[in-house]
């Protein structure tokens, strides 16, 4: 029984307690850059979750055979292989999205979030735990991307467009374009972090 709650814990911690973006502050670059549209967030979130899930599994599988001195290059090669899979399949099936995400797909390789999980978790834990951890961290990352995407797209353009269908509109308003542009990302993220801080301070008291 205890074993099972522990496993659930591995999955859950990535979403709030150790959220990669809000708490660990890793993988920020891609999150801020692509969260101007909900759609971009979904695709990058799925891509990163895929990479972190499989690279965690592979690294946990071979962890006993990896010599300590060259572990970083080995991690990077494993990660880079999965990123190449994502890179080529996204280019083939979703060329429009690939074009918009641009350099961010190859940059998943150097997303510190994935390397940090490989080094900090998968290298020391069993396959099952690493898989769950990867899934949880990936979900936490995607969740923040979605929240940021919804806030920014809704405020910045007045509507949310998903797969070429308009889902929500704010009506005939003149939206502040700044939110879909660069400063909006910093602003939204800073405020989200402050809100989370405030919530935690309240909880402590």
């Amino acid at each position: 029984m205890e074993e099972r709650t522990n496993l659930a814990q591995e999955f859950k911690k990535g979403i709030i307690d150790q959220n990669p973006l809000m708490k660990l502050m890793v993988g920020l670059c891609s999150a801020l850059a692509v969260s101007n549209r909900v759609e971009n967030g979904i695709f990058l979130g799925i891509a990163a979750t895929f990479v972190i899930f499989f690279s965690n599994i592979i690294i946990a599988t071979i962890r006993k055979r990896i010599p300590d001195q060259v572990r970083i290059p080995i991690f990077i090669v494993v990660i880079a292989s999965f990123v190449t899979i994502v890179d080529l399949s996204m280019k083939a099936y979703f060329p429009a999205v690939y074009d918009r995400l641009g350099v961010w797909i190859p940059l998943i390789v150097v997303n510190c979030m994935i390397l940090a999980r490989a080094e900090g978790f998968a290298y020391k834990n069993s396959i099952l735990r690493s898989a769950l951890d990867g899934l949880g961290i990936g979900m936490g990352y995607t969740l923040v991307l979605l929240v940021m995407g919804i806030i920014r797209e809704l405020l910045g353009t007045g509507k949310i467009v998903l797969f070429e269908k308009t889902i929500i509109t704010l009506g005939p308003v003149n939206p502040p374009l700044i939110f879909v542009m660069f400063p909006g990302a910093f602003l939204t993220f800073g405020c989200l972090m402050a809100i989370l801080n405030m919530y935690e301070m309240r909880k402590k008291e």
Partner: protein, 206 residues
Amino acid sequence: MNEAYRFFLLFLGALLVYNIILIRFIALCPFMGVSTQVETSIGMAMSVLFVMTMATSVSWISWNYILKPLGVGEFLYIPVFILIIASLVQFVEMVIKKISPPLYRAMGIYLPLITTNCAVLAAATEAVKPGFLKLNIAYHFSLPEAIIYTIGVALGFGLVIVMFACIRERLETSPVPHSFRGAPIGFIVAALLSLAFMGFANLLGL
């Protein structure tokens, strides 16, 4: 357009108009992590300039003379570029340690961090592989152009990181609401800086 003017545009575009941190959000982790003191951020900026220029040159050569002629570039470029960067960083670290210990003491601690600095991979990919760069005059770069572009990117990184460190040193002593302390106010400041850099948009038709 003559050659010198093109070089100037490329440099300016990479430095200000498409500033790597504030306009394109690449390399935010070192931006937030290292920029607490002016001195450390200057060290970081110097090491990035050094590694980035070398990484782009080697990547350019390997792409144009090895990967492309063999026809394997499309699916091997990510592992190859990142391995070039990782081994280059190791190599540079060893060389500096041997040749100039004072420089090593100043730069040494940042070097391992640079491997995962996405700016290096981003600059190498954009300068070498066509189709990633959104700059108006971008096309297939020659080696000198790739290097000029990379130096622009690296100096843009240095400029912003040093500027931000100066602001952050001031922030330490200013009265900030409790929940905004630390990283959140950093992001708000970055938003204002980014707003200022948006003023460079369309400069000289870039």
